[in-house]
């Protein structure tokens, strides 16, 4: 006897077991418990039953397989039909999410719930703030486990848009805290870029991440450059802020050479035969590009050669490829 068979609560249900047959691919050694519960879920779904016991059943299945998308969907429909308080579901989900770090469905389900909840609080700034605070607290807990959890960051971007948190001091502050803990956290850098350059107050709607946005104020560009530059001094070989700087310059419509002096802090290439001093391969790459931009092909080529032969040999083919068009220019 299983959990459901012979149980008076489920007596009226005739399970619909999976029919695998011969030739089944990727057959799994399901536990009897899972196979039984799935049979009951299929029967419940076929009967379109939305009752409290469905919540128990879906919770049970989720505890065994949190990646079964139909279970989540059916649970969401049941919650809606029963008018179950959303905060209760959210706190249950916190536990599930903490136990299933790599699960996508949980975060999708959470979005469905927030979408459902939002209309009831949209005109109440205090309620929105309270929700933002509690969600932030939970995400911080998730980030304590894995500060680069992709699903959580995805959900966070959704939440920033949904609740309009672009100017929330807590939002930027929390990203700064994560970067203080780990300056190499590229997820946090990406989130900062989103917060700053997608802020509807001063950015062009639908401006691509890879293009110049004339509406971005100079002061913002300066502030972001300063922030990222400070991070490069902390860890010169950390690529995240170097990428960030390129991104900021592009948004601000500025040339790489506009911060050439800064990048030069990490690289000394003497004119004579004395040895060069390179503290960051990313700085060398940055300078190579800036010099190429300015037509200083020989200097650019020298930097790329150093990268290829000495400072970043695992990408030798790439650096050599970058050198090829410079040689053409020089020979013309």
């Amino acid at each position: 006897m299983g959990k459901y068979e012979g149980n008076p609560v489920w007596d009226d249900v005739v399970p619909i077991p999976q029919d695998d047959g011969e030739g089944a691919l990727a057959q799994i050694a399901y536990t009897d418990e899972y196979a039984e519960a799935m049979g009951y879920l299929r029967a419940i779904m076929a009967a379109k039953e939305y009752s409290p016991r469905v919540l128990d059943l879906t919770e049970h299945i989720i505890s065994m397989n949190a990646a079964h998308y139909t279970v989540w969907l059916y649970r969401a429909s049941t919650l809606r039909a029963l008018n179950t308080p959303i905060d209760k579901e959210l706190s249950w989900m916190n536990e599930v999410a903490l136990q299933n770090q790599k699960n996508y469905q949980i975060w999708h389900h959470r979005q469905i719930l927030i979408d459902q909840l939002y209309p009831s609080i949209s005109s109440d700034p205090a309620a929105i703030q309270a929700l933002a605070d509690s969600e932030l607290a939970f995400m911080t807990q998730m980030f304590d486990e894995d500060s680069k959890n992709y699903h959580v960051w995805s959900y966070r971007q959704y939440l920033v848009r949904k609740l309009g948190l672009f100017n929330s001091p807590a939002e930027l502050k929390s990203v700064e805290n994560l970067l203080r803990k780990d300056i190499r956290n590229n997820s946090a850098w990406s989130h900062r870029f989103f917060l700053v350059f997608c802020n509807p107050e001063y950015s062009t709607p639908d401006s691509k991440a890879t293009e110049y946005d004339a509406r971005i104020p100079d002061a913002i560009v300066d502030r972001e450059l300063a922030f990222a530059q400070a991070a490069t001094f902390e860890a010169p070989q950390n690529q995240s802020p170097w990428n960030y700087i390129r991104g900021v310059l592009r948004k601000g419509g500025r040339k790489l050479s506009s911060v050439e002096q800064f990048a030069g802090e990490f690289v000394t290439l003497p004119e004579d035969d004395s040895a060069e001093d390179v503290k960051s391969s990313h700085a060398l790459d940055f300078l190579a590009e800036a010099w190429s931009e300015e037509g200083k092909t020989e200097k650019a080529d020298h930097a790329l050669r150093l990268l290829a032969d000495k400072y970043d040999r695992i990408r030798k083919n790439y650096w050599d490829w970058r050198r090829a068009p410079l040689k053409e220019k020089t020979s013309k």
Partner: protein, 448 residues
């Protein structure tokens, strides 16, 4: 294993075990993706030269029947029989059959590719499938994973479903969509626009340009563009001025040189100490030459995002991207092979996620796929966009053309049969066809 070469026999053994025996209970979380795992198993054996042709006819037919059993009555496929009800449940509700558990886009793609190994594409109800596929596209050009009875498109707006949609379209309609079917075709322009918007400030692609670039999403976008013939001609890539490449010639990618930079940056040197240290403290210090020199025993792995650790699967996602945009020569296979062979290849066959991990189906397949992309001897030539051997792609190409040949009905002894127009016996059979039985002719008259 300790040697830098593919131990074909051991891998074949691993995959045969996956094919023949039950997967451990730990795989329960992949219950909805069994079709995906099934495809990996069939395709891995194909790559290793031990494909389904080595199985008895009966076994092949059983596999085919299982895949077809997962076909949804309203078009598309389900990920496993746990999502597919017995036929009787799909009752007609006036505007089609009851949905029950909806068909799923990844399952559909992997079912089609798997049928390529054991069946034929004309066993797919392609019109239904294509009409269903169209219903999965959103206004922003993206695709969902499935559509509910209420018409809600579920699943992220990311590049994964765009890729799968492009691939299903490739397999069912071919490169040219006929005029007759155009109205059922997906909106390719919108999809390309959506993919174009996904490039991030650092050159990679993410689920949207607002999120962190990720090699898996990048692969899906580039492979989708490749299947739609919307990748730029490799000869137009400019290496001189990264980030400022002309966009006019780059239909699907806004910034191709930024993309190349991001892709090659995914290569990281793997050192054993990395596993012990949580973070690389060395990054704060000046580079020392000893640390950066390349020698014979060096390992190069790939990460999926900036500053993350190496993982077998990204060796494929990244090398495949470079290959598809014509920059496969920018990587050096030696240290990458060494990483896969000596660090993640397992002694029982297969590959694990990272050094020391046990093998699993997903990483084992993508490990082989990465090697095949780099033209590893002992593996069949590979098509990175469809993630199958070129031989299998050619077979699919023939099948999809065959599936488009119309069939006609003929009558014999009061029973109807169908015959394809390209059958050598077509003319003769049709000429010998009897009249349909009287009651059918009468019934048709009444209808008219």
């Amino acid at each position: 294993m300790g040697e830098s070469q593919l131990d074909t026999e051991r891998h074949i053994k691993y995959w045969r075990r996956c094919l023949k025996s039950l997967l451990p209970t730990d795989y329960t979380s992949t219950d909805s993706s069994r079709m995906t795992l099934g495809f990996f198993i069939l395709s891995a054996l194909d790559l290793l030269g031990a494909g389904v042709e080595t199985l008895p006819d009966k076994e092949r037919a059983n596999i085919r029947d299982w895949i077809l059993k997962c076909q949804h009555p309203n078009g598309g496929f389900c990920g496993s029989p746990n999502h597919r009800y017995p036929d009787g449940y799909y009752v007609d509700v006036g505007h089609g059959k009851q949905l029950m558990d909806p068909a799923n886009l990844p399952a559909t793609f992997f079912a089609i590719l798997s049928l390529g190994f054991v069946g034929r594409l004309d066993q797919i109800r392609r019109r239904d499938c294509l009409r269903w596929l169209k219903t999965l596209q959103r206004d922003d050009g993206s695709f969902g994973e499935f559509i509910t009875e209420e018409g809600i498109i579920e699943g992220g707006n990311d590049t994964r479903y765009c890729y799968l949609a492009a691939a299903v379209r490739w397999a069912l309609t071919g490169d040219q969509v006929s005029e007759e079917e155009e109205k059922d075709d997906i909106d390719v322009e919108k999809m390309v626009d959506h993919l174009r918007r996904g490039q991030t400030y650092d050159g990679g692609i993410s689920e949207s340009s607002e999120h962190e670039a990720h090699a898996g999403y990048t692969y899906c976008a580039i492979a989708a563009l490749s299947l739609l013939n919307r990748l730029p001609d490799p000869s137009t890539i400019s290496s001189s001025t990264p980030g400022t490449a002309s966009t006019a010639k780059l239909p699907g990618l806004a910034d191709l040189s930024g993309m190349v930079r991001w892709l090659v940056s995914r290569q990281i040197k793997y050192t054993m100490e990395e596993d012990e240290e949580e973070d690389e403290t060395s990054s704060a210090e000046p580079l020392s030459l000893a640390e950066l020199s390349l020698n014979e025993s060096e390992f190069v792995g790939f990460n999926g995002r900036c500053n993350k650790k190496a993982d077998t699967c990204y060796s494929f996602w990244v090398t495949a991207c470079l290959d598809m945009i014509g920059s496969g020569n920018l990587i050096e296979p030696g240290p990458i092979r060494r990483f896969l062979f000596e660090q993640t290849q397992h002694r029982i066959g297969g590959f694990g996620k990272s050094p020391g991990s046990p093998p699993d189906i997903y990483h084992s397949y993508l490990g082989l796929a990465a090697l095949a992309t780099m033209k590893e001897p002992g593996l069949k030539s590979f098509d990175p966009a469809l993630c199958i051997s070129i031989q299998q792609k050619e077979k699919l190409d023939k099948m999809r053309r065959d599936a488009l040949v119309p069939t006609r009905t003929y009558w014999k002894h009061g029973y109807s049969f169908s015959i394809r127009e390209d059958d050598p016996a077509y003319e003769k059979t049709m000429a010998a066809s009897e009249e349909p039985p009287r009651f059918i002719v009468d019934a048709l008259k009444i209808v008219r």
